[in-house]
């Protein structure tokens, strides 16, 4: 599974990255987490950061941040499909 955290590097984006990493560990899933900081790359998906992309699909964007539970749910949805 491929997960991207979109954000130019503000506290919110870093926090989302932490949440995602924690979710992966707790779910025990093998996933690659990539941090996307390039604005042009980010804007392929969304205008409002922080953004969460799982397997190429935008799953969350903007504030407030999704909770750990919500992120787990989003990851699992994709995990079942893939």
């Amino acid at each position: 599974m491929e997960i991207k955290v979109l954000g130019p590097g503000c506290p919110n984006c870093r926090m989302l990255e932490e949440i995602v990493k924690k979710a992966i560990i707790e779910l025990g899933i093998d996933a690659k987490v990539e941090k996307v900081t390039n604005i042009i790359e980010i804007m392929k998906y969304t205008m409002s950061t922080p953004g969460l992309v799982i397997n190429g699909k935008l799953k969350h964007s903007g504030k407030p941040l999704p909770s750990l539970e919500k992120v787990k749910e989003l990851i699992q949805q994709e995990n079942i499909k893939g």
Binding site: P8, C10, N12, I40, M47, S48, L58, G62, K63, P64
Partner: protein, 316 residues
């Protein structure tokens, strides 16, 4: 009722001497803390529900067909209700430019958003009443509208980084439809999120405010920063510009200072300088704006904020 409760705790439970300074400080602290947190929760929840109707993608869509002036007014209004993280300023800016929104209109949006700060609204309402709050929102909007109009008239497009204009991905971002339940959930999460970030600042600030209330002599500030001092406003603004992120914490303190003779215009100008102009935001905006445009932006904002300060000192 709240007043009685604060008094009851101060004089009956903790048993402080009536009219003594520590009692004054504690009374002020308990009363303000409960009032502010109650208002904060309520108002932020309501604002969050409203915000769920205006995601940035929709705001872009609304503004993309508008001319200047009408566009500036709309942009200033939308700036208040569109939720965005300060780090989104860059992608939003690029998205707006790509959608053909004029530079001045984009600036009206970028100015009003931090200018009319929801936490400031709550604190002003709780501490000063609805009149000062309405004035704050009104002037914030005016500064945003005129700041944007001036930047638009100056034709400063050449000072926007070139790559912004080359950017075309033609991507239409999807506007996620939410159910009422999702909106309420979003509002709840957002309220929790904001409270979590600001509660300590506010508590400390109310504490300092209480201390000033009890211990600083009544005419202390009148001598230095009262109405009579013509430099009070620019000095307050110059102090306010480098301060940031403590918008929540600063207001209870200036409230107490106001009791000691700081005038409303000076306070408003100081607050606007704190919330609307900040170094971190300038660093973020530097990614899309060249230094001269950034300078013009800061210059216009500083001058307008100082003007607002003088205006209020003159009429109130």
């Amino acid at each position: 009722m709240l007043k009685e409760f604060a008094g009851y705790v101060t004089y009956n439970i903790i048993n402080l001497e009536y009219g003594s300074r520590p009692a004054d400080v504690l009374d002020f602290f308990i009363y303000d803390t409960i009032k502010i947190f109650f208002l904060l929760t309520l108002i932020i929840f309501v604002i969050s529900v409203i915000r769920s109707y205006f995601p940035p993608e929709k705001t872009k869509q609304i503004l993309s067909h508008k001319k200047e002036f009408i566009g500036n007014i709309l942009a200033a209004l939308l700036g208040i209700v569109t939720p965005f993280c300060s780090c989104s300023a860059v992608p939003l800016f690029i998205g707006f430019v790509e959608a053909g929104i004029p530079l001045g209109v984009t600036f009206s949006f970028l100015i009003s958003s931090p200018m009319v700060n929801e936490i400031a609204v709550v604190l002003l309402f709780g501490l000063f009443g609805w009149k000062v709050t309405a004035i704050y929102i009104g002037t914030g909007l005016l500064v945003a509208i005129f700041g944007g109009l001036i930047i638009g008239k100056l034709k400063l497009e050449k000072w926007v980084e070139e790559y912004v204009y080359k950017f075309h991905n033609g991507q239409e971002y999807e506007i996620v439809r939410q159910t009422s339940k999702e909106r309420l959930l979003y509002a709840k999460e957002n309220t929790k999120d904001i409270l979590k970030r600001v509660w300590l600042f506010i508590l400390i600030a109310i504490g300092i405010g209480g201390f000033i209330h009890g211990y600083v002599p009544q005419d202390f500030l009148v001598r230095y920063a009262g109405r009579g001092n013509v430099f009070a406003v620019p000095i307050a603004v110059l102090i306010g510009v480098p301060l940031y992120s403590n918008a929540a914490g600063v207001i209870p303190i200036v409230y107490a200072l106001m009791e000691k003779g700081l005038s409303v215009g000076t306070v408003l100008a100081f607050m606007m300088a704190v919330t609307a102009l900040s170094l971190p935001e300038m660093i973020i905006l530097r990614k899309v704006l060249k230094i001269p445009l950034l300078g013009v932006f800061v210059g216009i904002m500083t001058v307008t904020i100082i003007a607002v300060g003088y205006l209020f000192n003159a009429i109130l």
